[in-house]
């Protein structure tokens, strides 16, 4: 029987080195999109290849990996990526946020506070925050170079005129280090403030668009806002998770029978940890 053997972490060493160089440059220039030669992977473009290439270039034999998709450890996308890394590296994976040294994520930052030695890797579908207001890549490159972000501000102004607020849910643009406008990937607004002077390193990889960018630890990160229209995170009107009772995490709003709504933690590991802790407390008291 023929057995396929791969290099450690699937990619060849030269490819990993090139990705690490791009990553170092991205860390050196916070918020700047560094082009890189996005490799072919055994998953389709748009399924997290940017994040996966970052993860594969970063992992060492001692690392512990956690992969989440919209906060869930058990989605098909998260499980497939986790298995690929397990099969090609043999490293340990986990569902616990605390245990992980590298967390690859799609569309969420864990609700459990992160340590300074942890690395967040975000999968990014659209790395260019100005793409909605400017279709030309040459023009957006010039706009970043000259820090000409008035079209983005105009889009927010138009939202206020039309809807009375800056009607953007996910992928709300942030200004990094008061210099570069950056798309934080489609995370909810809830997660934006977690970047501000965070101790952990955040890396963003867009495989299809071939860009890597980063927020180094302890960087000034500000969500765009007007003087009289402050940036606001999602408001759940005092609702709490139906499973763990938490009102401190980002909640999914799920339609229920009778036209009502239930709320459930988006971060499954956070929810599970809270439920386990309450069970443990109940056992101790019993």
């Amino acid at each position: 029987m023929f057995e396929q053997n791969y290099n450690f972490a699937f990619l060849d060493e030269a490819s990993k080195r090139e990705i690490r160089r791009a990553t170092l440059k991205a860390i050196a220039i916070p918020g700047y999109q560094v082009p890189f030669a996005s490799r072919e992977l055994p998953i389709g473009r748009g399924w997290g290849t940017g994040g996966l290439q970052l993860t594969l270039s970063l992992v060492g034999k001692e690392d512990v990996l956690k992969v989440i998709d919209q906060g869930s450890d058990d989605s098909v996308n998260a499980v497939s990526i986790r298995r690929l890394v397990e099969d090609t590296t043999g490293i340990r994976t986990t569902e616990s946020t605390e245990e992980a040294s590298i967390i690859q994520t799609r569309h969420r930052t864990p609700d459990h506070p992160l340590r300074n030695d942890q690395i967040m890797v975000y999968q990014v579908p659209k790395p260019e925050p100005l793409r909605d207001v400017e279709p030309s890549e040459t023009a957006t490159a010039r706009m970043h170079g000259e820090m000409d972000y008035s079209p983005m501000w105009l889009a927010l102004y138009e939202n206020i005129v039309k809807y009375g607020n800056m009607a953007r849910g996910a992928d709300y643009p942030v200004m990094i280090n008061k210099r570069y406008l950056m798309a934080p990937s489609p995370i909810p607004r809830w997660d934006n403030p977690k970047f501000h002077y965070a101790g952990f390193l955040s890396l963003f990889g867009a495989g299809r668009e071939k860009k890597i960018y980063a927020i180094p630890p302890f960087t000034h990160v500000e969500s765009l806002h007007f003087d009289d229209y402050p940036f606001e995170i999602e408001n759940f009107d005092g609702a709490s998770c139906i499973d763990c009772g938490s009102a401190n995490g980002f909640l999914q709003v799920i339609p229920a029978k009778g036209g009502t709504w239930i709320h459930r933690c988006s971060d499954t590991a956070f929810c599970l940890a809270r439920r386990n802790a309450s069970l443990k407390n109940a056992e101790v008291q019993a």
Binding site: R142, S150, L154, Y157, I160, V161, G164, F226, D228
Partner: protein, 305 residues
Amino acid sequence: MEHLQININDFDDELSPFDGIDHTLTWKDEPLLKVRRLNKKYGSGCMLCESEHGMSEKVNRCPNCATVWAMRNVSFDLYPGEILGIVGESGSGKSTLVKSLYFDEVVDQGEAYLQAYEKQDTNIFELSNQQKRFVRNHLMGMVYQNPLLGLRMNVSSSGNIAEKLLAADHRHVGFMRARASELLNQVEIPISRMDEAPKRFSGGMQQRVQISKALANRPPLLLLDEVTTGLDLSVQAKVLDLIRRLQRQLGVAMLVVSHDLGVIRMLADRTMVMRNGRVIEQGMTDQILEDPQHAYTQLLVHSLL
């Protein structure tokens, strides 16, 4: 929207002098804009047309290398609060001149000095892109012949004005709405329509929105490129009245490009006649129109009626 209606008087300090603009200057004796020997050519040029007297002033196309000289040694001064009319036939270089001053076109040679800019002694064509953007957004306003060039047709009228304010680092929605209301009121566009996109406006209204956008940051210099072309006579008269009134109220200097001598007669204090990319005559408007010296100007004036 009701929640967004705010009075401009609440924001007296918002339009205080921006960084980089010296508002203390007394400009009366000094030109606001000095332009010297501007050249713009389309083509590589050759020994014949590059030399000072190589080409006849009757043509702008080099017979040897077919290079077209859109501007040839154009020099003039514009004083604060003055309206300088630029007149000439199609292809004479009028629009190229104002577009070059607004950095829409890149000039090949020449200098321009803007007294209102902190770096008065620096040729504005040699500024960095950021500095040019600063000059465009803070010190100049431009009204194009075609509103498509000057407006975002799918963005609200107030948004078009806000764009200019945002580019000048204003970040207060209430102030921007109040300023937009004030400007649209000045150009007689109903405030109830300030959140409508200009694509739903008539040509005259679009031109008026363009004028209000150009005035958003109270620039000392306004560039107007054939603003009344394509408008019917009654709308033309309204727009011209508006420009004249704004110039008297705000004291803004204007460079008015037109091939219509009626427009120039009505607006301009001084007039410059261009032909084949060259300035062939300039002087007080009355003098140019009543007593033209150059043969071409005589032809132009006499062909009026």
